[in-house]
């Protein structure tokens, strides 16, 4: 009998990524346009210091740090789950048009000023947009469509959503509405409040729970749908949970942060070589690494001196693409 060592993830992986995400969150509390010392912040935090410092810490930096972690975790996990389910290393909520469709839902809410009716209208429309965009993708993947077919369908969905957004800009009732839409589309965590955290948190919690539930099913799917079914996986339920998890999680995240590309695509690729490369093994590491990466990128938008503050979506794309291309070349054979 051969001796079989347990070859799962290295024991250090999750603690290290968790530590990284927490330090990134802490750093996000310490850094900002108002140069405050750690001592002043600590005094503010414990209620003994300057009330302005306390306000900056609690009402500006804390929600922003929390949102960075939440948004990053959701995008990283969403990418990992979609890559696993579609058995496609190019899958990601951004590439396949899910983020775009969620953004379109949100833009509709802004355009018709529905967002002012009630704060949940915008996230609900974003979730609805994300859900709609998943229907053609899942339908194609059920027919055993090739990876290329899926990507093409995703590009079509993304293009359609982009056209809808352009239409909204085109017909915008006034330049301020157009500016509001554009600024929001660039993707940012600036000036977010706890109201945004309370929108994102339940969406991310539900999304994460639904996506982690099917880790085993994603592993079984690496052998194809027939084999997964004969391993006892109820594919219809997996599909439903996955679609809802992605739509609610990504929809909620897009609703508060705009479209932030590439995190979902890159993070699983960065994490995969550190695991046994099975789809289930990269889920939690992708969420943690996504949280750390996005929070650090948001930190970057505050640290890099520019005349106008950098937008987070712009920075993630600029940072992400070179890393992604590098990995694509290095890991080509090891998807």
């Amino acid at each position: 009998m051969p001796n079989l060592p347990p070859r799962r993830n290295a024991a250090w992986l999750i603690p290290v990524l968790l530590g990284l995400a927490l330090s990134a969150g802490l750093a996000a509390l310490l850094v900002g346009p108002a140069r405050l010392s750690a001592a002043a912040l600590w005094a503010g935090a414990t209620g003994r210091g300057d009330p302005v410092v306390a306000a900056i810490l609690w009402q500006l930096r804390l929600p922003r740090a929390l949102l960075g972690l939440l948004v990053g975790a959701m995008l990283g996990l969403g990418g990992a789950a979609m890559q696993g389910y579609l058995r496609n290393p190019l899958a990601d909520p951004g590439v396949l048009g899910v983020s775009g469709a969620a953004a379109l839902g949100a833009v509709i809410a802004i355009y018709w000023q529905l967002a002012r009716v009630h704060p949940v209208v915008l996230p609900l429309l974003a979730i609805a947009g994300a859900l709609l965009s998943l229907v053609p993708l899942v339908w194609l993947s059920r027919r055993g469509e090739s990876p290329l077919g899926l990507i093409l369908a995703g590009v079509a969905v993304a293009t359609l959503a982009g056209a809808g957004i352009s239409l909204a800009l085109n017909l915008a009732p006034n330049p301020f509405a157009a500016l509001e839409i554009t600024t929001w589309l660039l993707g940012s965590l600036e000036d977010r409040t706890f109201a945004d955290v309370w929108i994102a948190l339940p969406c991310v919690a539900v999304g994460v729970a639904l996506l982690l539930w099917d880790a085993r099913a994603l592993d079984a799917l690496s052998l194809g749908e027939d084999a997964a079914h004969t391993l006892g996986i109820d594919l219809a339920r997996v599909r439903l949970r996955l679609m809802l998890g992605i739509a609610i999680g990504v929809g909620g995240v897009v609703a508060v942060a705009g479209s932030i590309g590439f995190v979902g695509l890159i993070v699983p690729h960065l994490v995969r070589p550190l695991t046994d490369r099975s789809p289930s093994a990269i889920l939690i590491p992708s969420a943690l690494a996504g949280a750390a990466l996005l929070t650090l990128a948001d930190l970057g938008t505050r640290l890099i001196p520019t005349t106008a503050p950098l937008k987070l979506g712009v920075l993630t794309a600029f940072l992400g693409v070179p890393v992604f291309v590098h990995h694509l070349l290095k890991e080509r054979r090891l998807w």
Partner: protein
């Protein structure tokens, strides 16, 4: 001991009837071969037995219970399935891949137990792939991958196994090994159904063969009773040479009949 039975099973794919009114009862203890020309409906019959394709007419029962009403999880504990030429979508290690066979026994978040590990190791051993355990499944040769996939199906430990062309891409030595392994499984009380193309191997190794043509079951019995000259001419359009070596029946396809 498991029995799988079909009653007038018909399956339509893309508007075409691929399996047409098949009625048979498959019992444990014998190695059962499914043979027939390309497109005769062998693979679809195998998938139909597992409830992977819905019947257009008739039904499939496992131990008397209709497969259509059983959950995927229940079927998985009764029948293991080795699909034809499966691609591996992620570069998993062989050991991890074979471990997927234990999924029907695991809860959503539980880990592999020592009995799971024993089953995995035994399956690797039985298929002669233990030395590949640490290799990456996507880097294996076609024949190595086929045996690893068989190990994955065996690791399930289900009382029944349906294998769709497990011999494709195997060299003659490994073909003999795999047939001996399947036969031993059947002798040990498993229900083993294997889709085959090699008539010689079917004649030599199977206890019973099902001959399919155009979706219908046209022969069911011992290889000697089913693989007659008339059946080979009618179904395959070939003639064959027969003989016996060391008590084993031989059947070698020789020529196409007038076409």
């Amino acid at each position: 001991m498991v029995t799988i039975a079909t009653e007038g099973l018909s399956v339509d794919l893309g508007g075409r009837r691929v399996v047409d009114g098949v009625t048979t009862a498959l019992a444990a203890g014998a190695l059962i071969g499914v043979i027939g020309p390309n497109g005769a409906g062998k693979s679809t019959l195998a998938r139909g037995l597992l409830g992977l394709v819905p019947p257009a007419a008739g039904r499939v029962t496992i131990d008397g219970a209709d497969v259509a009403g059983m959950g995927a999880h229940t079927v998985a504990r009764h029948v293991a399935y080795l699909p034809q030429a499966v691609a591996v979508h992620w570069p998993l290690t062989v050991e991890r891949l074979v471990g997927l066979g234990r999924l029907p026994h695991l809860g959503p978040f539980s880990r592999l137990t020592s009995s799971d590990r024993t089953a995995i190791a035994a399956a690797l051993q039985a298929t002669g792939t233990a030395h590949l355990a640490a290799r990456t499944a996507t880097d294996l040769s076609g024949g190595e991958r086929a045996r690893v996939m068989l190990a994955r199906a065996l690791a399930t430990g289900a009382p029944a196994l349906i294998a769709d062309e497990p011999l494709a891409s195997l060299d003659p030595g490994h073909q003999i090994d795999v047939m001996a392994l399947l036969r031993a499984q059947a002798r040990a009380g498993a229900l083993v159904v294997v889709v085959l193309h090699d008539l010689g191997i079917a004649a030599r190794c199977c206890d019973r063969v099902l001959l399919m043509a155009d979706g219908r079951l046209v022969g069911d019995g011992t290889p000697a009773a089913v693989l007659t000259d008339a059946a080979l001419a009618g179904v395959y359009g070939i003639k064959a040479w027969r003989g016996t070596v060391a008590g084993q029946p031989l059947l070698v396809p020789l020529a196409r009949l007038s076409c």
